[in-house]
């Protein structure tokens, strides 16, 4: 069981606790309660399906932001071997909110980049809650340009509330850094696979989000603004974030039907944090297949196709 239980998961927790109590009681008293326990376990299974298969956009937002949800470093460990972190933007500093490096995916060298949120307050403070400064985006740019030079595919994992909005970020050209990534990623002559694993927050997400394939984990979100921010602007009330989450169409399945992403990667029941390894297995299968397809396309064609995918969005 995860340490953090979301509100809508509480009925599950109660049921799980009752089953545990009954088991304990049966053991202590030497009474056979197998039939009762069996009934409750069946109900638990049904309730789990009922809850997790009918998640509202707001509930998915909560899952996408779950503190125990695997972050990019967790996935790097689960998906790749020989991960070598590479640091710094060669200009200002190294940004712990955005990590990258070289690794092997099933033996093949790849460049990997991703936002990193912490799993607790201490980690979050160290990682700036996964909100990059300009130097983070510039490091990512440096690494993908290196990937192009050495003909390595790029795997980009997106999970950020957004780009950091601090005075230093403004001074160092936050907007310039994001725009430069959009510009450069769009012409990069090597395959780029983008997977939104948690929170795809606006420009800070998009700065790692231009590629040949854009995939989302089932319980991840992708949005132009946070539901709280949207509710504040629309209704001057951040408490109405659940409504805003529905209006924004930020879930993977909605974005797939709107034609804005290329695929949804299923998560184990209850979300990625309940089974990181199972989630990674699903991601691995998807990367394997997509890489195989993309590596057959020559670089010029790849870049042309990347452009037409973007060109089509709201093309009239």
């Amino acid at each position: 069981m995860p340490n953090v239980i979301l509100d809508f998961e509480k009925p599950l927790l109660e049921l799980e606790n009752r089953i545990a109590e009954l088991k304990q009681y049966a053991g202590d008293k030497g009474i056979d309660l197998a039939a009762e326990i069996n009934i409750l376990e069946n109900r638990l299974r049904e309730l789990k399906k009922e809850i997790y298969e009918n998640l509202t956009p707001w509930q998915r937002t909560q899952l996408a932001r779950h503190p125990e949800r695997p972050n990019a470093l967790d996935y790097f460990n689960l998906l790749f071997t020989d991960f070598l972190p590479l640091c710094g933007d060669r200009c200002y500093g190294d940004d712990p909110a955005l990590v990258g490096g070289i690794a092997r995916f099933e033996g093949v060298p790849v460049t990997v980049i991703g936002h990193v949120k912490g799993h607790n307050t201490k980690e979050n403070l160290a990682r700036n809650f996964g909100m990059p400064n300009p130097e983070g985006f510039r490091k990512a740019l440096r690494l993908v340009q290196q990937a192009e030079k050495f003909q390595r595919p790029v795997i980009s994992l997106v999970d950020t509330p957004g780009a950091y909005s601090g005075a230093g970020a403004e001074e160092r050209g936050q907007a310039w850094a994001i725009a430069n990534n959009l510009f450069a990623f769009s012409r990069l002559k090597t395959p780029i696979i983008v997977i939104i694993t948690g929170e795809g927050g606006s420009g800070g997400a998009l700065a790692l989000g231009v590629g040949d394939v854009l995939l989302m984990l089932e319980n991840s979100i992708f949005s132009v603004i946070s539901p709280e921010g949207c509710a504040t602007i629309l209704w001057k009330d951040s408490q109405r974030a659940p409504e805003a989450a529905s209006a924004l169409k930020l879930t993977a399945s909605e974005l797939l039907s709107l034609g804005l992403i290329d695929g949804v990667i299923p998560e184990p029941l209850g979300g990625a944090h309940r089974d990181p390894k199972g989630t990674a297995d699903n991601i691995r299968a998807e990367i394997r297949q997509r890489l195989q397809e993309l590596r057959q396309i020559d670089a010029e064609q790849l870049v042309a196709a990347r452009w037409s995918r973007l060109r089509r969005i709201c093309g009239f």
Binding site: A179, F183, F316
Partner: protein
């Protein structure tokens, strides 16, 4: 034709009650108070002076048609893709009514005016964001019209000038609007590969997703004095930092001092500077 566009613009100035007596026959105010220095300005004089306060040089915002008129040679502007009208791809709450009131207020179909014109006789493709249309925000149509303008530039080998004035991405179009950041930036990347000049002019205000895409990708980036230019809203930043920020934070001057833009150009010199840039790029060195 340009004059017609001008006439649709009625609401570019907010009248301060009590300080700006209205003329009896016209609805347009005769006088306006400068928000910066408090000087009472005669509207007709203000318009003759490109809407710059004669006392303190405060630059009032220009509507898109006013900007075109102030920038291109008389009778040279031909609008492109004027038929494209804002869309509501998510059926977003209250968006349609917001669009129709924006349309009524500005006489525009979305937050951008694009076309071809000439500056000192040199042909140029020009796009101007309309700050009064849902804060000049970028959704599908703004992204599409910029992309079409850039595609036309690649085909015709004409330089591109984009004037930005925008609150950022259009929230009501969700990820469709977010992806216009990627689409316009990718279009500019193709323009770059084609070796064609792109001048970006940042005017008050240029923020958010517009600043974080095509607006900061110019070969040359100019800004008007005093313009608000920043990625995150000042309030957001102050909340994040829980401290007061310097008074020039996120202004054109702040960006210039941090090496983020090439030049700050006062409005009365803008045409001349643009003409000089076009001239310097009219032949290879």
């Amino acid at each position: 034709m340009l004059k017609d566009l001008f006439r649709k613009q009625k609401r570019y100035i907010t009248v301060q009650p009590g300080t700006a007596p209205e003329h009896e026959e016209e609805k347009e105010p005769l006088w306006i108070k400068c928000p910066d220095c408090g000087e009472i300005l005669y509207v007709r004089e203000l318009e003759k002076g490109l809407k710059v306060c004669s006392k303190c040089r405060y630059h009032f915002r220009l509507s898109a048609p006013e900007r075109i008129a102030a920038t291109v040679d008389d009778n040279t502007f031909q609008e492109l893709d004027g038929d494209l009208k804002a869309v509501d791809p998510l059926s977003f709450p209250a968006y349609r009514s917001k669009l129709s009131s924006a349309e009524q207020e500005t006489g525009m179909r979305d937050a951008i005016l694009t076309g071809q014109g000439a500056i000192e006789g040199r042909p140029v493709l020009i796009g101007v964001l309309e700050p009064n249309f849902i804060m000049g925000s970028m959704g599908c149509i703004v992204g599409e019209k910029i992309t079409r303008l850039v595609e036309r530039a690649i085909k015709s080998k004409l330089p591109v000038i984009l004037f930005s004035a925008s609150g950022g991405a259009r929230m009501q179009e969700g990820v469709f609007s977010l992806m216009q950041m990627a689409k316009t930036s990718a279009a500019i990347a193709r323009l770059h590969e084609a070796g064609i000049l792109y001048v970006s002019v940042l005017t008050d205000p240029t923020t958010g997703g517009v600043l974080a895409s095509f607006a900061t990708l110019g070969d040359i980036i100019l800004a008007e004095p005093g313009a608000l230019i920043g990625f995150a809203g000042r309030r957001v930043t102050e909340q994040t930092l829980k401290e007061k920020l310097p008074p020039d934070f996120q202004t054109a001057e702040f960006c210039f001092n941090h090496g983020l833009i090439d030049l700050i150009v006062p409005r009365n010199e803008m045409r001349q500077i643009l003409a000089q840039i076009l001239s310097l790029h009219s032949e290879r060195g």
